[in-house]
């Protein structure tokens, strides 16, 4: 079977690109690390790929606000990205990647691709890195979270993860469509409705603050070797689902 081609987008200070690359490779995709400059220079085209990932990190130092500069750089190629998303090719934005998807207006999906929400500084006022228990919304159309148990553990590592939406109607649209695919069991950052991740109504474009690539294998769990009975852990499913969907 042909391997789906995954574009792993990076830029200055994209830090989780290699482990995201490794994760896609493990589930049978053919990943490629592509710098946003390569897209802007025309050396690579997004529509040549089947899957897209925005990894975590501190793109451009998170200056101005997290993910903002990367989102601005993408603006010139907005048409390509919109086509990719509208064509229902899977897109996952993890942590900084989620912040980028929100700052570009690709999530929450809306008509004008306007930014209708933000990921703001955590209520505690600083960066936090710890493991969080997450509830999986079984009614969500999200293709990435299919087949997961009701609750999973993933690490979070962010300074700006508080999901807020200004317009109540936008928030209502999220809950009505079950677009909030993941919520925190214990809210670590002050997100509205404990939201940890949201998807597009089609379920193919997904952004989340926790890091599935860091609980990909059982031995990455802090409770070990109790958790090491099987090789793959909850995070594996996210990547596997994306590849299965394309196939």
């Amino acid at each position: 079977m042909k391997k789906p081609k995954a574009i792993i987008l990076r830029g200055t200070a994209t830090n989780c690109d290699i482990e995201t690359f490794n994760s896609f490779k493990y589930v049978g995709a053919e990943p490629e690390l592509v710098h946003i400059n390569q897209l802007l220079a025309g050396g690579r085209k997004v529509m040549d790929y089947d899957l897209m990932a925005f990894p975590g990190g501190f793109s451009y130092g998170d200056d101005i606000s997290a993910g903002k500069i990367y989102a601005v750089k993408m603006a010139r190629l907005a048409g390509d990205f919109e086509k990719f998303v509208k064509g229902r090719r899977p897109v996952i934005g993890i942590c900084n990647g989620f912040q980028i998807l929100v700052k570009t207006g690709l999530l929450p999906e809306n008509r004008g691709n306007a930014q209708v929400s933000t990921l703001y500084t955590n209520d505690c006022g600083h960066f936090i890195a710890k493991w969080a228990r997450l509830k999986v919304n079984k009614r969500s159309p999200c293709i990435f979270t299919k087949g997961l148990p009701d609750e999973i553990d993933l690490p979070i590592a962010h300074g700006e993860g508080k999901f807020i939406v200004e317009d109540r109607r936008e928030l209502a649209a999220i809950t009505a469509g079950n677009l909030h695919a993941l919520t925190y069991a214990e809210n670590p950052n002050g997100s509205m409705l404990d939201i940890a991740g949201i998807c597009s109504p089609a379920g193919t474009c997904f952004g989340l603050m926790p890091h599935p690539e860091r609980n990909f294998f059982a031995w990455q769990n802090p409770d070990r070797p109790a958790a090491a009975r099987e090789a793959e852990a909850a995070g594996y499913q996210f990547f596997k689902n994306a590849v299965d969907y394309v196939r």
Binding site: A13, N22, Q38, F58, F127, A129, K130, Q220
Partner: protein, 792 residues
């Protein structure tokens, strides 16, 4: 600055005055040596030349104290060292002569073999950034982290950083002393340092996953900030050689007026006139760009050598790379962040995030393409000519024109006196506490024992997806791990290779106040034991020494140093653990307005690394299953010297247990075999706070209780229950053995001090007795609550 046209005829007094005005931190004797050299050349020096000499000859770059001659006196006995460092630390490594050491002491970091594939080396290095953090904690910590990462980027042809470590020493937050006017409070310093490490380490995408925090009023005015970094390097990229004709290319950050005289400032006592202008300004994103460029360019073979701009800036980096070929530098080509800068300032500025590459002319174009693609700035500063001459110009102005041999061969050194400190030892039996449970609670809440989660969770300790042994581990992800275990998948790109490595530390300055020799032994032992508890192969341990001391002009400080260095030699040889790199920092001493001196205690941080054959089988500290037997390995010795218990209740007993090196090595080898066989479910070392703290941590990290009776535990004759429970004698660890595998386990430890002391229980209660007498019984939730304090 006085004019230099009559430098060669200045008197020693005038030279000293000039040194103070210029901030070089050179002695009059060293300046006289410079004078002699210039007289021989028949000319006066230029400012840039004296600046270069001050940088190159600084304590920071040349380690004059540690690698100088010392006359040590202990009562009537004297011992002469020609080079203290070579006769202790280096001697251990040379004697052991391990074939898995790929590079020691010569490069920016030490390198050992990594993994089974034979393709990789592991580079490891720790640095200190104490003086900058005392005056500007946030900036000092940031640039400390940035600096040690650049050591890893600049080792061989560049290693990929996969782990950051940090160990800090601060004054007690509940200090009783009034601080002098010029000093920052320990809360302010701690907050600044933690935020600096956080903001730099997180942005650059390297996990900060090992280290420690230590509070003692000896560090009130002089905090210590140890920063370390480990990285992976292909074994065929370890050799570097500048080829005459290569271009000198600077990549990364621009040059500015920040960090002028950082190298020389680190040899000055901090006083009321110290300003923060000697501290550099960090910018993590620039360093990340340089990292991304280097890893790509290295694999394409686009340069012949690389090193980082650290202390002394261009002058040190280019001087080092060109020490054989010479260097021709045109400073007007440098990219600047400040236009009001003197040529000599460009030459010695310690602006951050700069790496110097030696690039063949034919490859510059391809390198430039990568630099541009990653938005990384660069400039071509000149070339390495091959004539051994250092010629630095700015336009038509000559800044430096000296033979390299003068700079690197000419450093004069002078013998320092060292005297053993007299410490009265009291080894009377300590009194038992009224309430054992309350004493344990107080120990758990002590700042040197309590939970570090409020600091650890501010660092991204899991970026790169390879932190298998975590700083916070166990059933609830909040127990205190002994060592970090790293699976460097982001460097090897090989998910089928489960090779990893562990990093642990040993640090015991309180023991050093009583006995610096034993401090060194205890510290190496603690570091090795931490690695063992994570399931590492400790027979392949490599260690780093990081000494911090007060002024070496004090013979007692030198006496402490000599004893600790001798301890390092003995421990290294016994454990078969070579030193592969190290660092020393002196003059950690401050003076207040009344002229009162505040020296730090001699502080030796031992950082250790050892391979973990299969990361999936790495071991954690928490109790795993009710019914499993608990063992105590090692002999408990008398003495409460240097213990946390003595800080809570001054028992008057300050005796320090003497570590039996041979017995410890034998015991660890046996336990390592038991671990490989899969007999051990959990392991935790006995360190600060003693055995009771160790057991409490294992219990509450696993959410399980235990019923224990210590009567079978091996012990020195006359040992009291206080010393058994709260003493910190070395070479002990608690083990949870898998039920049904006891016989096998006992086979491994036959004839060695390892005794069953009870079982893990489902009921959340830790009860401990010794023979007939029950010592305490405590609810583990209560113990955890005492321990889980918010430090920041």
């Amino acid at each position: 600055m006085k004019d230099l046209s009559n430098f060669n005829s200045l008197t020693p007094k005038e030279l000293e005055a000039m040194d103070r005005a210029a901030g070089w931190s050179l002695s009059a004797l060293e300046l006289a040596e410079a004078q002699r050299q210039f007289r021989r050349m028949g000319r006066q020096p230029a400012r840039g030349e004296l600046e270069t000499i001050a940088q190159t000859w600084s304590e920071h770059c040349k380690h004059k104290t540690f690698s100088g001659p010392v006359l040590y006196r202990d009562g009537k006995r004297t011992k002469k060292y020609k080079n203290l460092f070579k006769e202790t630390i280096v001697k251990a490594t040379r004697t052991l002569n391990k074939k898995w050491c790929l590079s020691v002491f010569t490069d920016n970091a030490g390198i050992v073999e990594f993994g089974k594939s034979g393709k990789w080396g592991l580079a490891f290095k720790a640095e200190t950034h104490n003086h900058p953090c005392a005056v500007e904690p946030y900036g000092g910590a940031e640039t400390g982290v940035g600096g040690v990462i650049r050591d890893i980027l600049g080792v061989g042809l560049g290693a990929k950083p996969v782990l950051n470590t940090d160990t800090f020493c601060f004054g007690r937050l509940d200090r009783k002393y009034r601080l002098p006017k010029n000093a920052l409070g320990p809360e302010r310093i701690m907050r600044g340092v933690v935020e600096g490490v956080r903001d730099y380490g997180n942005r650059i995408g390297i996990p900060t996953a090992a280290g420690g925090l230590y509070f003692d009023d000896g560090y009130l005015l002089n905090p210590l900030v140890y920063v370390g970094c480990a990285g992976l390097i292909p074994v065929d990229k370890i050799e570097k050689r500048v080829v005459p004709g290569d271009l000198i290319v600077s990549i990364g950050g621009r040059t500015g007026r920040d960090g002028i005289h950082g190298a020389t400032f680190s040899s000055a006592n901090i006083d009321e006139e110290t300003t923060s202008s000697a501290v550099q300004i960090g910018h993590a994103v620039n360093e990340k760009k340089a990292l991304d460029v280097l890893m790509r360019a290295r694999d394409l073979g686009l340069y012949n050598a690389v090193t980082d701009c650290g202390a002394g800036g261009f002058s040190s980096a280019i001087g080092e790379l060109g020490s054989e070929t010479g260097a021709r530098v045109r400073l007007e080509k440098a990219l600047l962040k400040d236009t009001r800068i003197e040529p000599w300032e460009i030459w010695v500025s310690e602006s951050q995030e700069r790496m110097i590459l030696s690039v063949p002319k034919a490859k510059l174009k391809r390198l430039a393409a990568i630099l541009d693609a990653e938005n990384c700035e660069y400039c071509v500063l000149g070339e390495f000519p091959g004539d051994g001459r250092l010629l630095v110009t700015h336009g038509r102005e000559s800044v430096v024109d000296l033979p390299m041999a003068f700079l690197h061969g000419g450093v004069p050194n002078f013998e320092k006196p060292a005297v053993r400190r007299a410490v009265a030892i009291n080894s009377k039996a300590p009194a038992a506490p009224k309430d054992w449970g309350k004493a344990l609670e107080a120990l758990l809440a002590h700042p040197n024992v309590c939970s570090r989660h409020s600091v650890i969770t501010q660092y991204d300790h899991e970026v790169q997806g390879g932190t298998v042994g975590k700083p916070l581990q166990g059933r609830y992800g909040d127990g205190p791990g002994d060592a970090a275990v790293i699976w460097p998948q982001a460097a090897t790109l090989d998910l089928a290779d489960f090779s990893g490595f562990a990093v642990g530390h040993g640090f015991a300055p309180a023991v050093g106040r009583v006995d610096p020799y034993q401090m060194a032994l205890h510290s190496v032992d603690e570091a090795v034991r931490n690695l063992l508890c994570a399931g590492a192969d400790v027979s392949r341990t490599a260690i780093l020494d990081n000494f911090c001391a007060a002024s070496p002009r004090d013979p007692l400080v030198m006496g402490d140093l000599v004893q600790a260095a001798e301890g390092c030699l003995a421990a290294s040889l016994a454990y078969g653990a070579p030193f592969i790199s190290g660092k020393d920092s002196f003059y950690n001493q401050s003076r207040d307005a009344d002229g009162k001196e505040y020296p730090i205690p001699l502080s030796l941080l031992i950082s250790a690394t050892a391979p973990v054959e299969d990361v999936r089988r790495a071991i954690t500290i928490n109790f795993k299953e009710a019914g499993n037997p608990v063992y105590l390995a090692g002999v408990s010795l008398r003495g409460l010297g240097g213990s946390v218990y003595n800080e809570i209740t001054d028992t008057g007993n300050n005796a320090v247990a003497a570590l039996g090196l041979k017995a410890a090595v034998k015991l660890y080898a046996a336990i390592a075999r038991a671990m490989r066989a899969g007999c051990v479910a959990a392991a935790h070392d006995v360190s600060q706070g003693g055995l009771a703290v160790t057991l409490a941590e294992m219990a509450f990290s696993g959410g399980l209780g235990a019923r224990l009776d210590l009567s079978a535990a091996a012990r020195e004759r006359g040992l009291t229950a206080v010393e058994l429970l709260f003493g910190e004698s070395p070479a002990r660890l608690a083990l949870e053995v898998v039920k049904g595998r006891e016989k096998e386990f006992l086979g491994f430890v036959k004839g060695l001090p390892a005794a069953e002391i009870g079982h893990v229980k489902e009921e959340p209660e830790l009860s401990v007795s010794d023979g007939g007498s029950r010592l305490f019984s405590a609810d583990i939730a209560r113990l955890k609550a005492c321990w889980r304090k918010e430090l920041i």
